[in-house]
Symmetry: C2
Subunit: 228 residues, 2 copies
């Protein structure tokens, strides 16, 4: 049974606490504001009204026994820094801290945070990327190994996989092809439903509008990206 | 050249704008506060001081020509709702809006938002999941098709892939195996470096501590999850 401490029940802290409980974990939430404590009292395994900058309070709560602690205090940067230091001293094995800006993040790392989160910035990066590269997705599976999702390049259309020899020419392993299959609806319209072929074989041919999911080395990715 | 409108230069808006420009996109940023306009004047392709609830202002800025608009106004829910409606009327093809809570999100969808973002909640979900399932990762590649990353189950250890017959027994296609290879450092310590085998073949055997990356149908995922 994995147990976690969440310090600060603002929007970020309360969301983390409830997703963890939803997944079957146990949360001990530490919150200084009595009104918020009352608000969340019955929602998590344990909700405690305390000032997390007080090392005795943390010790009494048995914080050293949790699998990880999440510090989700935004506006009071000093408090989040002090609390991070205390958690490090109390040997909490994994400390995740929400940071307000890069400098705050740097200080948090120095006092022992294992992982810094900038929810707005991180989400913004994600969205910006998908907006700029809507026909292309990339995910690093391992050092030097990527999975990519691309619209079928023009040069691949109407050829079958046996002919394309993706492994030989691009070191690529094709995992799946997503196709759009046209059909006639009840009111005589043409509509498309998605059909996924996984794994495809040498006879599978590539049509215009197909999406290919491939695994290939990092250094072959640029080649595919330039085809989209 | 992809062009975007970002409305509201709070932390979320300013981050999206700068990531888009970093990736080579053009941003026209619309911000009502003159101090913020001055602050960001030289950072984006175009920064305009205007009230985005004014349809004439939006029309004059040629907002109908952008590929997508991102509405990143938090505290004034009414404004973000009105602006979303106007963008829909001006036929902006893709409208992404930051929402303050579920109800706000519902209203935004009704007035034409294509996609709603809750940066803090979405990030929290991500983190909670990784905390609860540190030895297991799952990604949906297509409807009914998942990629998963798992620690080698006990029952697989010291067996080679030919013996395990993953395709036959689990409908699974193994993409890669991440191994830890021990070596002796300069000061006579044992350390590990990561080695990825992709794709592995029938003779590759699985060792304790290996991580397996597999593609399998959605309904086989539970089987693997319960082995970790
Ligand atoms: N020393 C402390 N000990 C425990 N809880 C604290 C302490 N200081 C602040 N908090 C609580 O942390 C919570 C989050 O803090 P705050 O609202 O400043 O951050 P935020 O970043 O604005 O939150 P949100 O996650 O909503 O964006 C608040 O509920 C606050 O009462
Ligand atoms: N009608 C409007 N037209 C253009 N910009 C606006 C309008 N109303 C608010 N803004 C701007 O939107 C920006 C973000 O708004 P606000 O600070 O309320 O949201 P927030 O969610 O707190 O932002 P953050 O992204 O920092 O969390 C502010 O800079 C504000 O001046």
């Amino acid at each position: 049974m994995r147990s976690f401490a969440v310090i600060g029940l603002g929007e970020f802290g309360a969301s983390i606490a409830s997703y963890i409980e939803e997944e079957g974990g146990e949360v001990i939430a530490i919150e200084i504001d009595p009104e918020k404590v009352r608000n969340y009292e019955n929602e998590f395994t344990s909700v405690v009204e305390a000032d997390a900058t007080d090392i005795e309070a943390l010790r009494d709560l048995g914080i050293s026994d949790v699998d990880a602690a999440i510090v989700s205090i935004g506006t009071n940067m000093g408090a989040s820094i002090l609390i991070t230091l205390l958690l490090k001293e109390l040997k909490v094995p994994l400390i995740i801290v929400k940071a307000m800006n890069q400098l705050h993040g740097k200080v948090l790392k120095k006092v022992g945070a294992n992982s810094i989160v900038f929810p707005e910035k991180d989400m913004a990066k994600n969205i910006a990327w998908r907006l700029m590269w809507p026909d292309y997705k990339e995910l690093e599976l391992a050092p030097g190994l990527c999975m990519i999702e691309i619209s079928a390049p023009k040069s691949f259309i109407n050829k079958n996989l046996g002919l394309l020899e993706l492994r030989k020419n691009y070191d690529a392993n094709i995992i799946a092809i997503k196709k759009k299959v046209p059909y006639i609806t009840e009111d005589q319209q043409t509509d498309y439903k998605e059909k996924t072929i996984a794994p495809p074989n040498a006879d599978t041919s590539i049509d215009e509008g197909d999406t290919l999911i491939l695994v290939c080395p990092q250094d072959k990715v640029e080649k595919f990206k330039n085809m989209t």
